[in-house]
Amino acid sequence: MIYMTHCETLCTTERTTYEDIAFPQSVHIVKDTFRRAKSGLFYPPHKAFDKVILQKTIDYVVDNPVKGKTAFLFAAGSQGWMGTSGRYDRNTEAELHYKTKIPFLTLTNIYAGRIASIFHVHDHVSTDASACASSLKVLMDMQNLFWHYGFDRVIVLAGEDSVCIPSLEFFGDAKASIQLSEEPDRKPSAFDGVNTGFHVGQGAALAVFEKEHAGMSEPMAKFLGAYTSAENNTNPLGQRPDGEGYSKAIDGSLHVSGVRKENVNVVKTHGTGTDANNKAEKAALLRSLDTFVATSYKPRIGHTLSASGLLETGLLLNDMKRGIVPQILNRTEDDDVFLSYDAPAPRGPFLSLAAGMGNIYSAAIFSTEV
């Protein structure tokens, strides 16, 4: 059995508005991680990661060695770090403009090696570039390490340079992120007929998964299985409206976890709120599951890109511990499936979903019963 014993998360519900960029918009940003970023000496994602790499977690891992091997997986999203390839003229005076003085230090594999060494991890280090599905996709890799390669502990770090000018240009240009000119008429939501889309958000998550051992701390959840699928789609940026990719991921996760679909009653959706994702994810869930309630955290904290799958799973675990599955913000219709109100949280298995550009769909099943 694999347990999640630690899950530290970073995100914010607060929004900051930036008007001096190519596509003016609001973002969810942890302000002090951007302090002095323009000096080139500090890289905001690293400052964000510092907030989830807690000394107490390091001490736990170092002081409680496991019998088998330990791995460090860095779910790094697009791996398009350092932001050097924007399509639009830069406004170097913009508050979010920054460029690191030692660019190679921001390379994901070098950063991963640096953090792995802090945890004294010497058996396996890898990075993942599965875009916004990254932090759930690596759970399939993790499962493989546990089941087939003699690993007893896997540390997963998730996040990327989500709030930077190239990222905001990309999502702004694609009309996925809500533009300043559209506020306040358009609010972030998911599976809604009126409110669509998201704000970009900064986020990070660090989780420790391990097999049971003598010194193991109290588990937060049981990890039951994960699966990642593609779908039959020639457009790697698109999503099939019938949700084939999501369905294959859900069905695969049910199969590897041995959980019956009627026993999954709670879903943390990817829930970006774009028209394409609303159609695809809803169709897949209605086809692959029986009776469930679904929530989305992105209307609350923004789209934290690669961090979102694991980070939002951590948020759901905390909410379920409080006994609720939270509503999807800004729904304009009453809905007791894609929740327009807070619902009581049942105990037992729940499903987390994520999707990433490049035709990547990930599903992971956990249980609150440990």
Partner: protein
């Protein structure tokens, strides 16, 4: 401004975790990992930060001598374009 204190403040700002680091007590200490507990990346980041504090422009070759902390201090003082009365004031400009 006490250079040892400034160096220590810069290490604490740049190194992710300080478990192997030993605060230097003399300028004659080397910057080797076995002596001070900083790896090459830690040293590079710290020296970039100190250079920024002293207003020394970046160079392509990054030719700061690293034989000892004294060599670093002498390089900074010879090339500095600004200075501060206290470590707190210096750090305020970069953190």
């Amino acid at each position: 401004m006490d250079f040892l204190e400034l160096f220590d403040a810069c290490v604490r700002e740049t190194k992710p975790h300080l478990d192997d680091y030993t605060k230097p007590t003399t300028l004659d200490i080397s910057l080797k990992e076995e002596d001070i507990g900083l790896d090459s990346l830690d040293v590079t980041l710290t020296l970039v930060l100190i250079s920024d504090i002293y207003g020394i422009p970046e160079t392509e070759d990054f030719n700061i001598p690293v034989g000892s902390l004294r060599e670093v201090r002498d390089y900074m003082l010879e090339n500095k374009n600004k200075d501060f009365d206290s470590v707190e004031a210096a750090m305020e400009t970069v953190t």
